[in-house]
């Protein structure tokens, strides 16, 4: 018996050794031969690299670096020519004729205008069931085709020859070039997509690349690796030879890897903000995302604009961002975040010239009294704040509750919910005040402003203003972009005066970036990161 036991034990040991041997090689070490290597983390692996179907931030980032659309976003988030060499825009700003440059796919085939036509129509094909197909809706006939009301042939994208792509839009919009940098607008090779079918882009060798890098390795849920693409048209600009990305979910682990030099760039956890405060490697990434309180105007108390404004002014946003959320977010006094651009590289905020809401408890108290008199309400009712159940959001919500109680004497019940549950309640109009956020789909104030038109599916508080609706409607088709932006500024002012929402903060994210990492850009729209220009210097 004793022998048997020993043998069993020995076998188990051998088995464990054998498993150990399967472990593979440590890839976290950078090369020593002067190679340019960047080490990163992601919280998950890219769930899908099929550019027509993908929906998540990790995949968007990967695609932005291994693929290239007609344009790509540069350091200042301005569109610069990618696959397109030049563009000719018609007078009515509805027809774009792109001239493609001589670029190659990673397998040496030329990139053709047909690759774009194929890709865009594939994304719009109802059979593809692309969740981001709506990004293509500015194109003529796109929405109709996608919702089975039109034909593929009527979609306004056409390869005139191998190097010329003609795109017709439904309406003139100022942000179309920037939009072509978005993943759904990437070109696709019909032969490769059809060859792999369902398995397209599930492994590095089941796709082809036309961007600055190629995916060279992909150990699912462990790590993946980029290598410089030798067939990229602008390869002389690309300095990095290799990028290693490890999948790390745990915040402490990210920090440990960063402080032991295993990774060069990673997100900074909120528990570590104090530790790294003021250090040169903290990098703030401003998103085009706004968080705000949405009021349900079907509630008698909240139907009054003065009362809503009082609530808005009662909240000390600076304390909220600096002491509570501590993620670099900026206090918001308006709807459209500073990252959103207007014409000629100016931000929409600069054009608007001001933030509308300031923290002023005295004025708030006065407004509340006036508002209650107006509405004929004698007693302040108890209010309910619908919010998220994540730990970060809960802290924010607690703070708002405390502020309203202290500054206005309003008693607030918190109602934290899971994302889906909250959505369900909001859609049903079953809320009084809701803590919510919105991220830009494209680089234009319209992505925020058209939410609040009467009957809009996100206007869940049913706020309604005829003047506002008129301004938005006009701007949707106005080819005079200067006038359009002025109208949009006016619209935002209206929204703020009536306090349809109470803006809280423009969200930011903090990262740690080793000081020897240069020119790694982050973008508030579409993909988060660009590695095309990044390089290592002075390591």
């Amino acid at each position: 018996m004793g022998k048997k036991f020993n043998v069993a034990l020995a076998l188990l040991l051998v088995a464990s050794l054998a498993l150990t041997a399967c472990g593979g090689v440590d890839q976290s070490q950078g090369g020593s031969s002067g190679k340019q290597v960047l080490n990163l983390t992601e919280t998950q692996e890219p769930p899908g690299l099929d550019s027509s179907k993908t929906t998540d931030t990790v995949s968007f980032s990967v695609l932005n670096n291994v693929m290239e659309g007609l344009y790509r976003l540069d350091k200042n988030n301005e569109p610069v020519e990618g696959m397109a060499e030049s563009v000719d825009i018609s007078k009515d700003k509805k027809t774009y004729t792109f001239k493609l440059r001589d670029a190659k796919w990673s397998d040496g085939e030329p990139v053709k205008a047909q690759d774009f036509e194929y890709s865009w129509k594939r994304a719009l094909d109802p059979k593809t069931k692309s969740e981001y197909a709506y990004m293509l809706y500015p194109i003529k006939g796109a929405e109709a085709y996608n919702s089975k009301k039109g034909k593929a042939d009527d979609v306004g994208v056409k390869a005139l020859d191998d190097k010329t792509l003609e795109v017709k839009l439904e309406q003139p919009i100022p942000y179309f070039l920037g939009l072509t940098a978005f993943a759904t607008f990437n070109p696709l090779r019909q032969d490769i997509v059809e060859e792999h079918g369902e398995k397209y882009a599930t492994e590095p060798d089941k796709m082809v690349y036309n961007g600055p890098f190629v995916l060279s390795e992909w150990n699912h849920n462990k790590d993946f690796q980029y290598k410089k693409n030798d067939n990229y048209w602008d390869k002389k600009t690309v300095k990095l030879d290799e990028i290693n990305v490890s999948i790390v979910k745990d915040m402490n682990q990210k920090m440990n890897l960063y402080s032991t030099g295993k990774v060069d760039f990673t997100s900074l956890g909120e528990d570590y903000v104090d530790k790294y405060q003021g250090k040169p490697d903290v990098y703030q990434h401003n998103e085009a995302t706004n968080f705000y309180l949405q009021f349900n105007t079907n509630n008698e108390f909240l139907d009054n604009a003065k009362i809503r404004k009082a609530i808005s002014m009662a909240i000390d946003r600076k304390t909220l961002t600096d002491k509570i959320s501590k993620n670099g977010s900026v206090p918001a006094g308006a709807l459209v975040p500073p990252a959103v651009q207007g014409p000629e590289g100016k931000s929409f905020r600069d054009l608007a010239g001001k933030e509308y809401i300031k923290h002023d408890p005295k004025e708030a108290k006065k407004l509340l009294e006036e508002g209650m008199k107006e509405a004929g309400i004698k007693k302040i009712p108890k209010l309910e704040l619908l919010g998220y159940d994540s730990s970060g959001a809960k802290k924010d919500q607690e703070f708002i509750k405390e502020q309203l109680n202290k500054n206005l004497g309003i008693d607030v019940d918190l109602r934290p919910m899971s994302f889906d549950q909250k959505l369900k309640l909001e859609s049903a109009g079953d809320f009084q005040i809701s803590y919510a956020g919105w991220g830009a789909d494209y680089n234009d104030p319209m992505t925020f402003l058209d939410l609040w038109v009467t009957g809009g599916s996100f206007n869940r508080g049913d706020w309604s203003n005829k003047e506002y609706d008129k301004l938005i409607k006009k701007s949707k088709t106005n080819p005079d972009f200067d006038e359009r932006i002025k109208d949009l500024v006016k619209a935002e002012e209206l929204l703020m005066e009536e306090a349809a929402i109470a803006p809280l903060y423009y969200r930011s994210q903090l990262f740690l970036r080793q000081t020897y990492v240069k020119d790694l850009y982050t973008h508030p729209f579409g993909a988060d990161f660009s590695y095309k220009w990044a390089h290592i210097e002075g390591k």
Binding site: S16, E131, K199, N256
Partner: protein, 309 residues
Amino acid sequence: MGRYILQRMAYMLITLWVIITFTFFLMHLMPGSPLQNVEKIPEELQEAILKEYGLDKPLPVQYVQFLGNLAQGSLGYSYKYDGRSVTDLLMQGFPASAQLGIQSIIFGSLVGVLLGSIAALRRGTWVDNTANVISVLGYSVPSFVIATLLSYYVGVKWGILPTGLWGSFQHTILPTLSLSFLVIATIARYIRTEMLEVLGQDYMKTAKAKGLSRTASIGRHALRNALIPAVTVMGPLVIGLITGSLVVEQIFAVPGMGWMFVESIQVKDYTVIMGVTIFYSALLIISIFLIDILYGVIDPRIRISGAKE
């Protein structure tokens, strides 16, 4: 014995079926759907996607379909990870998780037995006290706390081992240690108690009287008999290890299966939720079964009484 095993197998299948059924219906009670960008997708498209997943059908129909596919050995495709089958996902994570589990249980048992025996033999000395402290700590401090501390102190402060990630054997040391603390503590406690009892038994005196050396009598008689109760706690220990590994894997960024548990529930990746649940349940049920069998091997009395039933 053969009949006993068959009977147990039947019970195992029933248990598994009950778990599957409960999980399936509970999972569909969660609000929301597997669609990620639900706020922005046009409604017709949402319906089309749900139809593709078969989620438009009534729940009982979905349930029967699911069981049918399962009977054919298919767990389906992940909703979140395009073109990847649930079996693929599980198999990709399995080697790392299995390696971690096996290393922890072997290392933990060996150290546990050693520590427990020494503590019993040197009862009342500082060795015994130290072993006691280790046992209490290992038993009461959860593995994720140990993991976080090890990663920070051994990895960052002292720089001896990698703080995390996966690759070489070195990467496995800290996660293995974190997980094996519980095993060490539990086994050591049981071995010590049993050893003390066994050492006072008459047959130990006989062994000594017939001239066996101390080492031989301890090795051949005392330890063998002390091992029996230690094996009984293997079941709960394995469960502890598996649940512990879910968190410890995340802390050390081990590419195992643990992440799938939490993530699939968060994003309502129904097929993955079911796949992970079935896999882990089967693993637990089979472990318990094997331990029961092992118990019979070590202590023949159990086997006989089992067969009589």
